[in-house]
C-alpha cells in the first residue's frame, strides 16, 4: 500500500475545465471516497490517479515516486469499473487467476489466492461458472475479487455499486469495510451517493465543478461542513437553510426565524464577533434531525404550524412554517401531528450552522 498524493491537478478537455488545481492526499491504507454530483470531476480525478487520463498540469505521487507519466499497469493499480469487467470466454476462477498471472509463483499460490478472494466476496460456489451463467450482482462481485486479489499499490473503485439494484447495493456496501480490513490496502472509491460514502469511507473528499470543497472524516463533513454546498450535499433528508437576521441584545445573540427569535450559543457569538458590522445576509443551516416538535410551548421554541407531512415509515418528515420561514424536521411517527396544527419547534443549538449567504461559507 502507498500514500497517494495528487498535487495541483488541472485537467482541461477541449474547452471544459474538469479539474481546477486540485490537491489531495490519501494516507497509507486509508479508505478514501471521492464524492460529488455528476460533472464534479471526481471520475476524472480518479482516472488521473489510475493513469487512464493524463493531467493538463500537476503531478501524481505514489509515496515519493512521481507516477504522472506511468501507465496504469506500470503504476500497479487494481481497479473495479462501473460495469463488470469479466472476460466472457473464461470462467470465474480463470478470470480472477488471470489478474494475478504475473504475480504468482506457483499453481498452489494461485489457487490459494483465488480462493481467498472468492471467499472474501462470497462467490466460492460460482468459481466454475461462466459469464452468462451468473447474474449482474455476482458479476460485479467477481470484478471486485479480480481487483482485490492483486498485490496492487492502490485499489480504485469507480462507482462499483451504481448499476446494482437497491438490495444488492446495500448488501455489498455493508461488506466493503470488511473487505478493506482484510485486504489492508489504500482504497480510492468514487461515488455520487453520499450515503454510500458516509457508510464506508475513512475519509471523504467532496468535489464540485472541478474544485475540491472539503476533505475530512464522515463525521467532520457531516457536523462541520465548510460551505453551503457540502452542508447541502451531505445528509438525508437535506439540511434546511433559513434566511435570518442576527441581533445582539444585552450581549446575547439572537437569530430571527420567521416571526420569532432563537438565541444562538456562545460559540456562534464568538465566531460572529469579528464581523460585527456584517450581520446581514445570513442563513441558518439546521438539519431536520436537529429540530424537534413539541405540542406545548417550551422555552426558546418557535411557534409554527404544520404545513405538510410525509411519512418515511417509522419517522415523519414534517414541514413547518413560521411566518416567511419554512423548514423540515424529523419526528417520531407516534407523535400526534396533523397538517394545519399549531406546534413548537425546538432547535438543537449545538448543531445550528451560521452561513454567510453571499460567500456561501459556513461561519460556524
Amino acid at each position: 500500500m502507498v500514500k497517494v498524493r495528487a498535487e495541483n491537478i488541472t485537467k482541461i478537455f477541449k474547452t471544459l475545465k474538469a479539474l481546477d488545481n486540485v490537491s489531495v492526499t490519501v494516507d497509507h491504507g486509508l479508505f478514501f471516497c471521492l464524492l460529488g454530483p455528476s460533472g464534479s470531476g471526481k471520475t476524472t480525478l480518479m482516472r488521473i490517479i489510475a493513469g487512464l487520463e493524463t493531467p493538463t498540469s500537476g503531478s501524481v505521487f505514489f509515496d515519493d515516486e512521481d507516477v504522472t507519466d506511468l501507465s496504469p499497469s506500470e503504476r500497479n493499480i487494481a481497479m473495479v469499473f462501473q460495469f463488470p469487467s469479466i472476460y466472457p470466454s473464461l470462467n470465474v476462477y480463470d478470470n480472477i487467476a488471470l489478474a494475478i498471472r504475473r504475480e504468482v509463483k506457483s499453481k498452489q499460490d494461485e489457487r490459494e489466492r483465488v480462493r481467498w478472494a472468492a471467499s472474501l466476496l462470497r462467490i466460492e460456489e460460482h468459481l466454475n461458472k461462466r459469464h452468462h451463467e451468473i447474474d449482474f450482482g455476482i458479476l460485479q462481485r467477481v470484478s471486485i475479487a479480480k481487483a482485490i486479489v492483486r498485490n496492487a499499490r492502490v485499489f480504485i473503485f469507480d462507482e462499483p455499486l451504481s448499476n446494482l439494484d437497491t438490495k444488492l447495493r446495500e448488501s455489498l456496501r455493508s461488506e466493503f469495510q470488511r473487505i478493506h480490513r482484510e485486504v489492508g490496502g489504500t482504497f480510492i472509491y468514487v461515488t455520487h451517493d453520499q450515503l454510500e460514502a458516509m457508510a464506508i469511507a475513512d475519509r471523504i473528499g467532496i468535489l464540485r465543478d472541478g474544485r475540491l470543497q472539503q476533505v475530512g472524516s464522515p463525521d467532520e463533513i457531516y457536523y462541520h461542513p465548510v460551505n453551503k454546498f457540502v452542508a447541502y450535499f451531505i445528509g438525508s433528508p437535506t439540511i434546511n437553510f433559513i434566511d435570518t437576521k442576527l441581533k445582539l441584545v444585552e450581549s446575547k445573540l439572537y437569530a430571527s426565524v420567521g416571526d420569532s427569535h432563537i438565541e444562538l450559543g456562545e460559540a456562534a457569538k464568538f465566531a460572529l464577533q469579528s464581523r460585527q458590522d456584517k450581520l446581514e445576509n445570513i442563513q441558518l443551516g439546521v438539519r431536520p434531525h436537529d429540530i424537534s416538535i413539541s405540542t406545548a410551548p417550551v422555552s426558546d421554541s418557535i411557534p409554527c404550524y404544520v404545513n405538510y407531512i410525509e411519512s418515511l415509515g417509522t419517522v415523519l418528515l414534517v414541514e413547518l412554517k413560521s411566518g416567511s420561514a419554512s423548514f423540515k424536521c424529523l419526528c417520531d411517527a407516534g407523535l400526534n401531528v396533523r397538517e394545519g396544527m399549531q406546534v413548537y419547534a425546538v432547535f438543537n443549538k449545538e448543531h445550528i450552522h451560521v452561513i454567510d449567504a453571499e460567500t456561501e461559507m459556513v461561519i460556524i
Binding site: A50, L52, S71, P72, S73, I77, A78, M79, F81, Q82, F83, S85, Y87, P88, S89, L90, L98, A99, R102, H132, K146
Partner: protein, 292 residues
C-alpha cells in the same frame, strides 16, 4: 360483437394475404420455378441451340462432371482464388481497421477514400485493371519492372496473382468496415481493465478483442467467401478466364459450358453442385460464428 370481431380479423387476414401475394408470385415465377426447372434440367441432356427435346439421362451429368479431371482442376483453381483473396483481404482489412480505430484528424475523409473501390462497378474494375496490368504501358507492370529489374507480363505470366490482386483491391475495405464496427463495439472499460490487469497484447486480443469482433469477422468472411466463389464479372473482363484456362474459375466455366458450348443440362448440373458448396460453406461459417 364477437361476430364483428371475427369478421374484422378475417378481413385483415385476407387483406394481408392480398398484400404479399404479388411478391410471392414474383418470387415463385422468377426464382423458385426456374430453380426447380433447372434442377429437373440437370438430369437431362439438352442443348438450347439445337432445340431438340431433352433426353433424360439420370445422374449422368453429375457423374461425368464429378469424374472429370477438368472440373476438379477448376474447383482447385476457384478454391485457391477464394482462399488467397479472402485471406489477404482479411489481413489488409484488419490492418486498416486497427489503423482507423485510432482517432486522428482527417480520419473520416480517409475512410471515405479507402472505401471508394467498393463503389466501382465490377466490369469497370476488370477493364481498368486490364490497363493497369498491361505489359507495355500498365502502371503495375511499370512498378513490377522497377522492383524486379525485368519486364514482367503480369497478365500472361502471373494471371492468378492479377485476379487475386484485383479482388483484394476492391474488397479489402469491405472487411475493414466490418472489423472496424467490431472493434468499436468493444466496451471501453474492458480495454482499460485489460490494461490494468497487465495482460499481454496477445492475451488482450484473445480475451477482450476477439470475443467481441468474432461474430462480425465471421459474417464478413461469410459474405466475402460466398461472393468470391461466384465472382464472374471482374475476372471475365480482366482475363476472360485465360490465358488458356489459367484463371477459369467455376463461374466462368459454367458460363462457357452454358453459353459457348450450349451444353445446357451439364451447365445446370454444375451450377447445382456449386450451389450445394456455397450452402455448405454458409452453414459452416454460421455454426462457427454461433459457437460459444
Amino acid at each position: 360483437m364477437t361476430l364483428q370481431a371475427t369478421t374484422g380479423s378475417r378481413l385483415i387476414r385476407i387483406f394481408s394475404v392480398l398484400l404479399i401475394l404479388p411478391a410471392v408470385a414474383l418470387v415463385t415465377f422468377l426464382v423458385i420455378f426456374p430453380l426447380i426447372w433447372a434442377l429437373g434440367l440437370s438430369f437431362y441432356s439438352y442443348n438450347v441451340i439445337r432445340g431438340e427435346a431433352p433426353v433424360f439421362v439420370g445422374v449422368e451429368n453429375y457423374y461425368r462432371l464429378l469424374n472429370s479431371l477438368d472440373v476438379w482442376r477448376r474447383f482447385v483453381l476457384t478454391g485457391q482464388f477464394v482462399f488467397y483473396a479472402v485471406s489477404i483481404e482479411f489481413l489488409i482489412g484488419f490492418g486498416l481497421a486497427l489503423l482507423f480505430y485510432n482517432q486522428f484528424s482527417g480520419r473520416r475523409l480517409a475512410i471515405t477514400l479507402v472505401t471508394t473501390p467498393l463503389l466501382v462497378a465490377p466490369v469497370a474494375v476488370g477493364i481498368f485493371h486490364r490497363y493497369l496490368f498491361d505489359a507495355t504501358f500498365g502502371v503495375y507492370s511499370y512498378f513490377a519492372q522497377l522492383i524486379t529489374g525485368q519486364s514482367v507480363k503480369i497478365l500472361s505470366q502471373h494471371p492468378m496473382f492479377a485476379i487475386i490482386f484485383m479482388d483484394v483491391w476492391q474488397w479489402s475495405p469491405f472487411m475493414m468496415l466490418f472489423i472496424l464496427a467490431g472493434l468499436e463495439a468493444i466496451p471501453k472499460h474492458m480495454l482499460e481493465s485489460s490494461e490494468i490487469d497487465r495482460l499481454s497484447m496477445f492475451t488482450k486480443f484473445r480475451y477482450v478483442v476477439w470475443p467481441t469482433i468474432r461474430p462480425l469477422v465471421a459474417l464478413a468472411l461469410l459474405f466475402r467467401t460466398m461472393d468470391a466463389f461466384r465472382t464472374f464479372d471482374t475476372i471475365f473482363t480482366l482475363t476472360g478466364g485465360g490465358p488458356g484456362t489459367a484463371t477459369e474459375v467455376l463461374s466462368i466455366q459454367i458460363y462457357r459450358i452454358a453459353f459457348q458450348f450450349f451444353r445446357t443440362g451439364e451447365a445446370t448440373a454444375l451450377a447445382f453442385i456449386f450451389l450445394v458448396i456455397i450452402v455448405l460453406l454458409t452453414n459452416i461459417y454460421l455454426r462457427l460464428a454461433r459457437r460459444e
